[in-house]
Subunit: 570 residues, 2 copies
């Protein structure tokens, strides 16, 4: 396995044998370690000392179902702490097959110049990006596929990343005919912009396969893993995740009073029924769109539904629950077509829909445009792509928008906007938002799935639940697995060990893996500590502790002492 | 002595005997202690738990020359740490005479409602501010003086404070016929706005005098103090400070390569000769403006020069060196009339000229308006008063402007913009900027005056110099003294003890006072620590350590270890 080092100041690339401390690491685990070892924690996230890392998980490229996620990492310009954000698409699988453990982008070129990094089977080069500058991610991907071949993978930023906006994400293309994906959170698109990197093009890995240490062990373990997912009543062909996508949960979140509505001022939305997975499915089927598509090669879940307009023309490849909550109910919008178009615009500009929806919610609270005024909101979002001052404020996320407009009701933790669960009604998520080294992140440890085990409104048990979930997240993000694919490896942690041992022959057991997952959090917390984060940074905003959230009229009341002790048993 | 508590949520006021821990404290010392005791350090600076404190120094109201400065304090929305900012005018003197040790404004009224606090000799009341809302500080002061009498003091915010901009200051009127003054730094105008307080009107203290504990001791000490200032060759009637104002130093700062030019990209300015105190004086004399006026009753220095336009009409009451540097050379403007008009606009909107000049410098670097394009810059600044999105960005200061426009060359420390001395060529100031609990502040410990004792370009000696200066600043800001009046009390610290003992009869000696001054810094550092500040927050921006500053081509190279140990001997 190799590291591909990309030196943007010299516009050169270099291959490096993976140094031994990184040998057993992939994805988020690798990123956490690399950040701690190579990046001065207090550095300017958009300066020359930050690095941008692309790393498949440990299972990447092996053909394990749902295990092809690409982790992207660096110091976040949004949280000023560690950041890993991952996406589906073909990049994780392809890099894994090529034996590339990580692409590490370092330094900065002459200000304002942009490059394309080409990673081929035979050669690796940097090409000037002049002719795609200023384009959105859709046009960028299309143009580059036209030039480099439609089987290649394109990783790119849109206008938001070029403008160094802290709400900018990174777009990753999927299989031919499938839509793109986004490593959206934490402003890594701005880091890519600051590196002068408009796009990465990865040739299809031709004739390359991973040399398995124990092919038989791997085959039986990965087969069992796949089978258990297919047989899982929630995930299989008849499961809610496949049938309704992530938006399967809209009704339940609304019911529990945690559905972000009008800048998190309410926990239920009067038009939530329009935003359910059921409604999405019916609408798509009636318009003859595609149902149950996938974001990664070989995925057996297929949770995506290509959302189409009234004429059957695709708008977005999938409408995620988080997007629906943040640019839907949070903005007072209860119409799927409007949400889809806002989603499209975010995707094209290369913006995190969560951060951008939260920023728009703050701007609406400031009052120049009303909640639910769809045309007004389109106008606001459009300014992000244009780079107007207001657009730049929105593109920089919720905290900046709050600062600029003097709004203190900003739903964010550690500088990053909250996803689609108000922490007052789902306190386990509040604990994760407040304590995760990643900031407010649903993928860092989402308590929604455990709502029947731990009372979402109680203080008791949240701390333990959050830690458990955060460790599981570290596992998923380090192996490249989709969040939905966790049941088989949670019920039998040894199954993960078998897959890994089958590939690499490391002879790990489940305890070794547990230590590895915990180390991810330890390294991340340490990086943040060295970057200057203290307990005071790991907090839920003041107003959420004081303003009761309708309809349940609850505040976030998990004591600080509980937050501060989440990692005591790490 | 009394505290006046103002409860903005109930719109009520209450008198309180000064609790004993505060008895010996005034101005900044009182603010530091009150913040530490009463404000949750991690609170939202613009939320209900912050407090806004107005406090004269220990010498306030006694008639000691130059000792009538009013300290304003609270948690800063700009630095998220402790903040004390002080201003001349008649407020400090009047509150002192009235026996008011502090006005403490707490809570918040219904959002968007604004009040006027009236402090009379007979009564204290809150009045609705409806008819002055949206007005600048000039019109606000005029209207309130019209209504309440021209002898009263008006403390007010302009549009910037109403908009909760983190670059907003607080305006304090002077004696009739004299111009206003500004407690400009740290965003305290936004805190005043967040309290729904548009203005405070203080009736002239009629027939009230301080009961002196030892009138004879006080008289002889304060007389000697005054005499020594008059006899000081720099401060007296023939001194540079009186003759040329604070801008007496323009040439010297430019000469040493520390004169902020075009967003701190150079340390000398080709048109600096136009911005010298000498040029100001000549221009004003030629136009028949007033020279050597004062900001406080009884000041024997008189460093202010009323800057007038070509027709002899006053523009601003004084043009401070910091303003000249930040909205002059820092924006590429080398014309005094233009600087005066930008100064006027900042004063009227209620903006800190330092923070606003630095923010404008960052915006110019982003490129939509060129350095030196005066009309373009007027247009930008005008937007602050209008509250456009771009105006709000600028009004929120340099760090926000940098974030929004993706500019990493932001001259700020602890979130606050640097004043008119580039720390690369005046490293002692860099040490103060980076370590002062107040953030980058020239009044927190300005090494310029010691440039002949400690080499401004050397690392050695800066740490010790900065600490010494920071302790002196704590003394000045806690007693209400003007920065210029320090020589007599530095050369004989017992002189200060005599003045204080003459007033209060506390029998303090110079060692007691030294302990008191040091406690100011200790309390402030502790507040910041509890607010979450760590060594990583007390830093000079990365680019200033790496980008050499012309013409001397020097970087800021005082090691972090030196910064971190400044207070070891506190």
């Amino acid at each position: 396995m190799k590291f591909l080092r990309v030196y943007m100041n010299q516009l050169q690339t270099e291959w490096e044998e993976v140094p031994s401390p990184y040998e057993h690491l992939g994805g988020r685990a690798l990123i956490a370690k690399l950040l701690l070892e190579e990046i001065p924690p207090a550095c300017d996230a958009l300066g020359p000392h930050n690095k941008l890392i692309f790393a498949p998980g440990l299972l990447g490229g092996t053909g394990v179902t749902t295990a092809g996620r690409l982790s992207v990492g660096g110091k976040s310009p949004l949280t000023n702490g560690v950041k890993e954000s991952n996406a589906g698409g073909t990049a994780g699988d392809t890099l894994g097959k090529m034996g590339i453990k990580a692409v590490v982008v370092e330094g900065q070129p002459v200000q304002g110049t942009f490059q394309i990094l080409y990673i081929g089977n035979e050669k690796t080069e940097l090409h000037p990006a002049d002719n795609i500058l200023g384009l959105g991610t859709y046009a960028t991907s299309d143009k580059l596929k036209e030039k480099y071949g439609k089987e290649c993978t394109v990783i790119s930023i849109g206008q938001a990343g070029e403008f160094l906006m802290a709400g900018a994400g990174i777009c990753v293309t999927g299989e031919p005919g499938q839509h793109s994906n986004h490593a959206a959170r934490g402003g890594l698109g701005a880091v890519m912009g600051s590196k002068g990197l408009k796009a990465i093009v990865i040739e299809k890995a031709s004739g390359k396969t991973i040399p398995f240490a124990d092919a038989e062990l791997f085959r039986s373990a990965s087969k069992r893993f796949s089978r258990e997912i297919i047989d899982n009543p929630k995930l299989g062909p008849k499961g809610g995740t496949h049938i309704y996508g992530t938006a399967a949960i809209t009704a339940a979140v609304n019911e529990m009073g945690a559905f972000p509505t009008r800048n998190f001022s309410k926990g239920s939305f009067e038009d939530s029924i329009n935003l359910r997975g059921e409604t999405i499915r019916e609408t798509i089927l009636a318009r003859e769109g595609k149902i149950g598509t996938r974001c990664m090669p070989g995925c057996v879940i297929g949770c995506r539904h290509e959302y189409v307009d009234e004429t059957g023309k695709p708008i977005v490849g999938t409408m995620q629950y988080e997007t629906i909550a943040l640019v839907g109910s949070n903005l007072g919008i209860g119409n799927l077509d409007d949400v889809a178009r806002l989603n499209y615009m975010c995707n094209d500009f290369g913006l995190d829909t969560i951060e951008t929806g939260a920023a728009l919610g703050v701007v609406l609270e400031a009052g120049s445009v009303q909640f639910g005024d769809t045309e007004g909101i389109f106008g606001l979002l459009n300014q992000v792509g244009e780079g107007t001052p207001l657009g730049r404020v929105i593109g920089n996320g919720a905290v900046t928008a709050g600062r600029v407009f003097g709004i203190r009701r900003v739903p964010a933790a550690l500088g990053q906007a909250m996803p689609g669960y108000d922490p007052r009604s789902l306190k386990g998520n509040g604990v994760t938002y407040a304590t995760s080294p990643q900031g407010a992140d649903h993928t860092a440890g989402n308590a929604f799935g455990a709502r029947n085990e731990v009372n979402p409104l109680a203080v008791e048990g949240q701390k333990e639940l959050s830690l458990k979930l955060q460790i599981i997240s570290a596992m998923l993000d380090s192996t490249g697995l989709c969040l939905f694919a966790r049941p088989p490896v949670i019920s039998d942690p040894q199954l993960m060990a078998e897959m890994i041992n089958g590939i690499y022959g490391w002879g790990l057991d489940k305890n070794d893996l547990d230590a590895l997952y915990r180390d991810v959090l330890r390294n991340e917390l340490e990086f943040n500590r060295l970057a200057g984060k203290t307990a005071k940074d790991y907090r839920i905003p003041e107003y959420m502790r004081e303003e009761p959230l309708a309809p349940l009229n609850v505040v976030f009341d998990v004591p600080d002492s509980e937050l501060d002790s989440v990692f005591d048993s790490l």
